[in-house]
Every structure is written in structure tokens, then in C-alpha cells.
Symmetry: C2
Subunit: 368 residues, 2 copies
């Protein structure tokens, strides 16, 4: 096992938790102060309207522009959203205090316990996103998690911070089927690892293959199953592994434009999350399966459908795909009009993807 950098010994996860509690306190204090001073309280934050979402080519991700919106308790049109927002902040703060987690759907139904009116879950989801913008924090930081889970495996010792498990440690190589990435793993401290990289793979079947073929030992890697487009908590975990442990993140997807887009969203994020920096891995690398790999590795393929081709053309208009490997490979897919899958390597034996493809692509990625 390697020795962790001093940085992580300072209890990053706990500090983040404390910081979020402070942000809630600040938000509440601002509202109370206005009231104490005889003003109508108001809350101002960056607009998430389509026009205010711009691509930042330095940051290599979508960000919010300078346009602001206001929720003003004085304005009768704002009162509904203002009230919903205050209730949500109260509710999320309570979750944090009690060490409970919740889902978007739970929040919607919980509002009914307080007779706070949301016409449907879309409306409460929107307010939750507003709160993310205001606090500049992902909703996972205030204990609202997605229901979907994907998994991780490898030599990483973590220490829990969730109630009932504080201080307990676990090594993530001890269960070969993998550990779910849920609230307790998302908030755990990273204590020690011998890993030199993270390999995120799109499919559960390949995740199991990688464990069986000891990719974690042979490549000193943590293996993450993204289960298709990864749940937010998995993107959050990938970022933490990258930022806190300094591990490079390599992403392996099916050989089609949907796979390419999975890698893109992990690396550069989405327009929907333009207000967040906590879900991206800007220096991550897509190690295939590229369009050009279909030819190079003589993989079994299927023809792209009309829908696949339409999707490729849409992506070509997206500023994230304006250059580099991203654009090049979209054009290859469009030219050959073929697609393939990770399992297709089995044509050359079940271990071909680990024995041949993976080392070649990792070599490329490291030389980049």
C-alpha cells in the first residue's frame, strides 16, 4: 500500500460537510436579517435559462453566464418559489443535522408533510437545482442522492463519516462483486490506496471481467462500473478520486457515439449541470472504444441506425465536440456508419480486452 498524501489526512469529507452547514446558516441568516431590519427578504442567483448557459473553452465545460435572477418576497409572483426554496433549505438542513439522506422523489412527497405545495415533482426538482446554484454545491452535499447506484472495486481503504459507522474502515478490494457507491461511500474519507489510476467502464459485465482478470492488480487500478451514463454520485466519486488522490481517470465505453458521449459527460459535464464543478473530471481520458478502433482491432460491428446517425450529427454541433479526438472520432463513426460493443472483443477470447486492448490504450493515454 502507498502512503496517502498529507492532504487527505486533513479529513476532506468532514470539512466539506462543515462548509455546507455554514452555507445553510449564511443563507438562513440573510433571510432573518432582512426581516429583522424590516426589509422583504430576497435571494439572488445565476440564471439557468438556456441563454445563460455558455461553453467555457478554458474550463472545457458549460458554465452559467452573468445573468442573475431574484426571488423577492415582496413580489407576489415570486412568493411561491421563494417559500418553496426556504422550505427546501430548511428540509435539507434538517437532513444534514439528522444524518439522513433523501431522493428527489422523497423530497417531493415530504413537502406534503409540511403542506408546502409543489404541483408535481418537476417543480420540486427545479427548486432543488436552484438551491444547488445558490449554495454552489451539488445536491449530494446536502444529502439528496440519486436512486441509481453503480459500483467500485479496488485497493482503496476508506473511513466512513455516516452516523453509526464513523471511524470504521473498509478496503474496497474485499468484495469482488463490487461496492455500491451510495451516500456512505460518497462521504467517506480516503485513507490509503496503492492505485495509480481509475478505470471507469460502461458495462457491469466488463466490470466483473476486469475483477476476474485482476485489472486492479495488473494495472494498479480502481475499477468503476458506470452502468451506462453514470449516476451523479458516481461522477462525484470519480471527481473525488481524481482531485483528492490525484489519480488519472480513464474511461472505457462501447464503440458507439453514445459511449463517446458517456465519456464526454464524465469529463466535461452537461449543460444541465452548468452551475456545478463537482461532477466533472476535466483531465479524464476517453480510451475507447473509438470508431477507429473498430477498424484497427477488426471488431464485429453492427450498422448504425438512422437514429444513431442523427445523434452523431447533433453532437457535431455541440461545442464540446469542436476539436481533438472527440470530433475526429465522431467523424469516423459517421464515415464508417458502424458501431460495436465492449463485449465484441470476446471474438478474440474473453481476456483479449484486458490482455491486448487495455494496455495499448493506456499507453496511448499516458503519452498524451
Amino acid at each position: 500500500m502507498g502512503i496517502m498524501k498529507e492532504k487527505t489526512k486533513e479529513s476532506i469529507a468532514l470539512k466539506r460537510k462543515e462548509k455546507v452547514k455554514e452555507l445553510f446558516k449564511d443563507l438562513g441568516s440573510k433571510v432573518y436579517e432582512s426581516l429583522d431590519n424590516g426589509y422583504y427578504p430576497e435571494i439572488e442567483f445565476h440564471s439557468r435559462s438556456v441563454k445563460n448557459i455558455v461553453y467555457d473553452s478554458n474550463l472545457k465545460q458549460y458554465v452559467l453566464g452573468s445573468k442573475m435572477v431574484k426571488r423577492d418576497a415582496q413580489n407576489i409572483k415570486h412568493i411561491r418559489a421563494f417559500t418553496q426554496l426556504c422550505w427546501l433549505a430548511y428540509f435539507a438542513n434538517k437532513l444534514l443535522a439528522e444524518g439522513r439522506t433523501s431522493t428527489l422523489r422523497d423530497v417531493y412527497y415530504s413537502s406534503q408533510a409540511y403542506s408546502v405545495d409543489f404541483s408535481d415533482q418537476n417543480e420540486s426538482d427545479e427548486i432543488i437545482t436552484d438551491l444547488e446554484v445558490i449554495l454552489e454545491r451539488a445536491r449530494e452535499d446536502f444529502n439528496i442522492y440519486p436512486e441509481e447506484r453503480s459500483a467500485i472495486f479496488g485497493d482503496l481503504t476508506i473511513e466512513y463519516t455516516v452516523p453509526g459507522y464513523e471511524g470504521r474502515r473498509l478496503n474496497l478490494a474485499s468484495h469482488p462483486d463490487g461496492y455500491l457507491i451510495g451516500p456512505s461511500l460518497s462521504t467517506a474519507e480516503f485513507i490509503d490506496t496503492s492505485a495509480k489510476m481509475v478505470i471507469a467502464v460502461e458495462k457491469g459485465g466488463l466490470f466483473t471481467r476486469f475483477v476476474e482478470e485482476k485489472v486492479h492488480e495488473r494495472f494498479k487500478a480502481l475499477i468503476v462500473d458506470t452502468s451506462g451514463q453514470p449516476p451523479r454520485s458516481t461522477r462525484y466519486m470519480l471527481r473525488r478520486l481524481n482531485q483528492e488522490l490525484g489519480l488519472p481517470v480513464f474511461i472505457l465505453t462501447d464503440g458507439d457515439v453514445y459511449g463517446e458521449h458517456i465519456a464526454m459527460v464524465i469529463i466535461q459535464g452537461s449543460a444541465n449541470a452548468a452551475h456545478l464543478r463537482e461532477l466533472t473530471v476535466p483531465n479524464g481520458k476517453w480510451i475507447g472504444v473509438w470508431g477507429s478502433d473498430l477498424i484497427k482491432y477488426k471488431l464485429p460491428t453492427e450498422p448504425m441506425t438512422e437514429a444513431d446517425i442523427k445523434r452523431t450529427k447533433e453532437l457535431l454541433l455541440d461545442p464540446r465536440y469542436s476539436s481533438g479526438i472527440w470530433r475526429k472520432e465522431l467523424n469516423v463513426f459517421l464515415k464508417i456508419k458502424k458501431k460495436s460493443e465492449l463485449e465484441a472483443f470476446a471474438k478474440y477470447g474473453l481476456t483479449a480486452i484486458v490482455d491486448k486492448y487495455l494496455p495499448e490504450k493506456l499507453k496511448w493515454a499516458k503519452s498524451e
Copy 2:
């Protein structure tokens, strides 16, 4: 911790593995013997045609009737399927010998490594099911697993039998986000548990809620997330927990006919798997959310759609729904034309489902 019954000390998982290897040997020997004796080899097994799938009201599940089909190497029409079947048996036997696992999709692509022709994955899937019928074993027993995974949590100590982990033990209460149920857990020995029951819940969000509210301690339960209609390996695990540990299995779903059907498939199985007994929990109990609970617990509801109503009417024609709670509740749904979800209990507080609903329904289930 309780003391496990003697039965489980006899290494059930390893015995099952040995038995499957024997079955493969027998199948191969039969083919070789025919050849040695100058006969064309043939393999006979129960037909899976729709007409041969009958409902057995004693077993309370679909079973195959007496009609047999043959794959005869002498018959030119049979040669393709006979060859595919022999190759598959060879390949699966190799997987077992090497301790590797595979998916349906992997098998399809692997066939290309041997120049065995399948026109598409459907064809190879069919042959895999034929092999299940012939060996009377679930394909998980010959290391072909679904890609999907769901999760388990609670006080159960297991011992791995997979290569590299043999003899290692793990307690499934040590990671509060849950353990994936994959090949290594499916084939593990059960060593020790203090659990008195299994509670399977349809949704990941509720699974996390149950862990946070310590359902595993308060109700001495193992908690299983089915993630909607459970992957086969999860059904297989539920059966093992029920059969090997003698634990009752209680199933908690959304309050709609799809939830009811999830419980039904766990308990009585499906027509597709009429040839298997390894995926059912005949004495399992559906503890809701029932149609009548929507009224009794004053849950927030949504109107059933036309598709929901159509589905309900289809299920009413299904012999599995001919009596008891199954039929009664379908009729309630059809009458009130409303549906609800597990999260709807949050209207009465996030813990209402654990504090109030669960104890009441478990009391009912135990008195049944």
C-alpha cells in the same frame, strides 16, 4: 450472532458446483459413447413451446409439460442446433474449469472465436436456455450471469468460493451502501447470520432509507434491493436465503400492479423460466403496497393510465392471479383506478414507512 444450522456447514455452494461439473461430464460422455458405438448422437429434453408451459397449482408456478424435443445429429435440420449446443456445453464447462464468468452477450461474441455461427444474440440466448432445460440448472450455475446487479445488506457472514478469494469471509453489514449480488456472492457459502427474515424492497432509495433507519437491527432482517424487477441473480440469492437459511422472504413494492407483479415473479416465477425451480421463493409473501393500503394509509396517489388498466386486465387472466390476495388486490386497483409509490409514505415523514407501515405488514405476514 446466531449459530448456523449444521446443513450449511456442509459447503452447499461447493457441492452444487461439483454437481454441475458432473452433469456436464455426463452430457459429454453420452455424446462420446454414441459416437464410439457407431450411433449418431442425440440429445432429448423438455419442449419450451408455449403449448408445453402449464401452470402447476400445487407447486404454484409454471412448469414444462411432458412434450419432448430432440436434437439429432443424424437429422440435417438438427445439425445446426446440435452443434451450437455442443459448443455451448464445451464453452460453459471451460468457464467453470477456469473459474471465469460470462454474460449472454459475451457468449454470443465468444462463439465467433470458435467460428460457431449464431445469426444473432437471440439464437445464442435460446441455446443457453436449452442447456438450462437439459441440465435442469440455472445458467448462473454454469457461470453465465446477467449483467444487471442489485444489492444486499445485513448481518450475514459469507465465505467466498471464487478463485483468489476462497476461504475469505465478509460480513454484509460492513458497507452501508450495500454489496452487489454478482457471481462471487451468488456462489459464496453462508456461514452465520442473526437475521430472522429477508425484506426485499423494489427501490434503491428505500433500500438506503432502510439501512439508515436500521431495519436490519430493528427487525433482524437482511435487506435486499431488487432494483425494480430483480435480476435473475437476485432471485437466485433470495431463494438461497430462503432455502438454505430457512428465512422467510417479505417483498415490498410500489403500490401498483407492476409492483404486485414484481412480487409475483419473485414468489412464483415466470413462464419464461418454467423449466427452473432455482429462481422462485414459493413461500415468499408480498407485504404491499397493496391497492387497499392506498386507502387505508391515505397515501398520495396518481390515476392509473389506460396502459395500467390494460395490464391489470391481462394479469387477471393469468392463472397465477386466480385467487387469494393476488386476485383481490388486482381487483382493488381496478376499482379505485389509482396507484402510488413507496416514497409516498414520506408525506407522513421520512421514517413513517419504517416506523408504522412495515411493523403492521410484517405482523400480518407472520400471522398468515
